[in-house]
Symmetry: D2
């Protein structure tokens, strides 16, 4: 039976990580578990930066962005010798299970520990929405709202000057931030891995808009999709007549108080993670699939591929 459970956050931080930590700690204590936190992710695990915590540790953190137990990257964690130190540290505290909060890289570390006999539970938290075993990750909704707010601001200035504004959003290798924020903002063009108009289509669309006096254009592009955004801007400027500017939204997308929806998801997934441990389950990752809280074997999840939201792409095509 599980009695001592530790929590860590790892990889890029996401809004809602603190709400998730709070839910896990409170649900653990409600189930009479002794809860621990590990500071700075796998780095802190290897350095034995581990402390037991009670309910007061998580008071007044729910609404705060970032992660109060901090995150870090540790390349050396792929070495088995380093993993063995981590395992030894967990055992020295008598910790029976580890809940990891983060994205795919975080899960990879957890799978390595699972192979060495540690019971791990993964909770998906990243703004990129690119984690297996869940339709939505904690942090995605907040990042969408942050992007939407930024694009609404850029629209003011783009419209006042009748410009074409190219906006780069995050998402790593997943286009969801671009597709959802582009739909939310009603932009003129979206370019993502899953939906990529040709240069000819881009120019035709923007020429059509430019021919309409007093109009401006907004284009949302996924990061990493286009090697050189300036070339795209030049292409547009040369072929459409639009004064064209590039805006890279950057890490403001990672920060901020979590949205209501992300906080609720954090509560639900955090409680589910503890419920699985109490039920004696091992090596699962939790998620929300078809609006139901669920869980998957963390190894199997990794072999699946995320599906593209074809329905949303059709909506984008209709409204363009």
């Amino acid at each position: 039976m599980v009695r001592r459970v530790a929590v860590l956050t790892s990889g890029g931080d996401a809004p809602g990580m603190n709400a998730t930590i709070r839910a896990i700690i409170r649900a653990g204590i409600a189930n009479n578990l002794q809860m621990y936190v590990i500071f700075e992710g796998y780095k802190g695990l290897v350095e034995d930066n581990i402390i037991p915590v009670d309910r007061t540790f998580v008071s007044e953190i729910l609404m705060r962005g970032g992660t109060i137990i901090r995150s870090a990257r540790l390349k050396e964690f792929k070495d088995e010798a380093v993993q063995d130190i981590a395992v030894a540290n967990l055992k020295s505290h008598g910790i029976d299970a580890l809940v990891v909060i983060g994205g795919d890289g975080t899960y990879r570390g957890a799978i390595a520990l699972a192979k060495k006999g540690i019971n791990v539970i993964g909770v998906p938290a990243t703004i990129d929405n690119d984690v297996v075993g869940t339709d939505y990750t904690i942090g995605f909704d907040t990042a969408l709202n942050t992007i939407t707010d930024a694009v609404d601001k850029l629209r003011d200035t783009s419209s006042s000057h009748q410009r074409c504004t190219i906006i780069e959003v995050m998402g790593n290798s997943c286009g969801d931030l671009a597709l959802f924020s582009g739909t939310a903002c009603g932009v003129d063009l979206i370019l993502s891995i899953e939906y990529r108009p040709t240069n000819e289509e881009i120019i035709a669309k923007l020429r059509h808009i430019h021919s309409n006096r007093a109009r401006h254009a907004l284009v949302i592009v996924s990061e990493k999709l286009i090697p050189n955004l300036q070339e795209l801007a030049d292409l547009i400027e040369d072929n459409t007549g639009f004064d064209t500017r590039i805006e890279v939204l950057g890490r403001i997308q990672r920060g901020g108080s979590p949205s209501a929806s992300d906080r609720v998801l954090a509560a639900r997934l955090g409680v589910h993670a503890i419920n699985l441990l109490v039920d004696g389950q091992r090596n699962r990752c939790v998620g929300i699939v078809n609006d139901k809280i669920t869980n998957t074997d963390i190894n199997e999840a990794f072999e699946q591929k995320r599906k593209t939201n074809e329905g949303l792409i059709k909506v984008i095509s209709t409204l363009k």
Copy 2:
């Protein structure tokens, strides 16, 4: 075959109504339909306040709260004679179908028109999340974020003065706004139709908090649940020692620019409404069920009862 389609908004306004109007108008035009808007809901329909519109009518409205075609209540619409005027007005414009955006009251009007041979499609938009045929209504997510933001502000002052603050939120006869916002804000107590601690439980919980020096308490209550909030405040004050204040959030919950999630839902449901008409379907209401866009017969939907989110209530019980 449908060729002329009109849109109206009715009942309480909700953030995302304008985004819905935009999606319907643009999707209609993309499908070569002639689109109309009716101002001021069924009142405008009876008064023939109907105009044809093109794409420019809906430009730059996506991000605006409220409804640019306005809403109104018309008690007389339950009279068949009044409904007949509405039908005659639609026919005089050659309008084949009517898309209504709103809540249950709005659907009721649509069903009356359906009985008289008008093809109607319902799109659920209200902050109360109390419409049949959908898990979530357009506007609910924005209202949740507005409440969350307000509660975060009230927490500052409640905490500085170590008070108990009772916050009344909207929701009509549905507790979702209370349950979701209470979870999102991590409040100490939630009182809704679906989840109602006894007075003894309320007092025990708040006494426990008050015994802990330097603590404060937040209580979220659904509107219409408790006839006299002042009595509840007095009960708490007399039995726990807490200086207790009441805050009624009011209609700020109805306003504001829609959240990213509500804008995306508006786009998806608006396009689906037009797709149904183009496919020759009649008298449906659209919705999102298990995270899939779907539709139901508008008469049948009305006979169903909304289910309580039991999973969320368990999460609340665990984290309390």
Copy 3:
């Protein structure tokens, strides 16, 4: 020479109090003073709830609403015997001076202590902008922005339904919150202590608006000005035809992260308070007058009367 300085917050909390505490503590330490905080205002002073602090005590508090050292009211503080306990507590810690953050009531307590030989400095922080010796108080700008945001939301729903919405804002006995927010929001009518149209003027104005189809009206009213808002609403409804609703914004006006301007004012006034002590000054209150940081004798300040912003009232009359 001053060597030990204590800080307290008292009265209603205001956004920017934490930023003020931070500025005072950091400026004190930069001047080699030993800094103390007193929890829960004069109550904590009498109960000897006083601790020495270093820079880490104020890290990451700048952006938070409320006051981390909390506030409280203590009616008994007007008794000299109670004040004597306060003085004894300060002396027992060897504290040479006390910086009080708050409004008029807070200053009154400080003046009592000054009479007993304690060196006091007042820093004005309240959303009501009703403190002597300063044109603007810390927290006023944030509250204005909170009101403006709320009124923008209420405008959405008021406009969608063509209603008259009466909005009560705070301000205690000072109309600045009403006058400034009414100007910022471009409302149709403002009712404050300094600017009070007659009932005839109110009705004439709203009748004129109502005669214009599809219009709505917003009215901002200072708290405590009108004994019964429902009577005003009934008067309007009976005489203009407007469906009229009342919204009381409540304590959300006190909370939230401080605006940029309030944070800068907090930094400037906090540093100035410490500079005065280092310069050997006694019993001053700091403020911003004609956009310059300044200070006044705290006793004299109390005898002055705040001037009404006549320029702003003329602007309101012109734009109405």
Copy 4:
């Protein structure tokens, strides 16, 4: 006597331009003037893109970012022949005076027209706070709040990863946005034209912070100050051990709904501009100096130099 007055916006757009347009148009109409707007700044003036407007033209624009009459740049406006066309267009409409809203470049165009006998009034609106004849420009306060909000978000992620984050803010050749936002956010270092620590000071400060485990650092830099931010980042990374990232906030700083303070300033300056015309004054620029609404000869203003806010720089030095 002035009877017909036109308004234009020119140069970079700023939040509050629409509120300014509204105040000018409404104040003009209240004084029985016939008001005109010119679209797209001096370009529209030369192209005769001028229309008469009434009160409804400015309804519901107060809270919107950008400028509904749009802005544009017209290099050719420095040619007298082009200016003569502008003058002729104004005369053909019988326009007696022109109110220009913008920054220094906008004033330069107005001065050219003044030399040709047109009565011009300048109203300062730019986020950069770099206009003569005023302490604060319309739009500055909103941009400060936008930066503050963005830095608060970046703090979450910077702190979670214990990074040094360099944030570039706008301001053109004026450091006010950096100095005020740096103070508002309590950042560790500010680099502006007026306040420029040496590289040695930068490294010493950041080394000190880095030596303190679990700390992160925020640096705000004025645009155009440092030719290559990557070199600064490399310098910091090589000499302090901090993982260092650059964030360029970009044009989101120009957009968004104006803050309460900017809206009030817009109302006051807009009304003052019309009052000057009604009083028969010529060629003035309006401003707020020592918190009083005032005006200056537009030619003389141009010869003055803006003063650095020495008081604020001392505050920054104390709190660093």
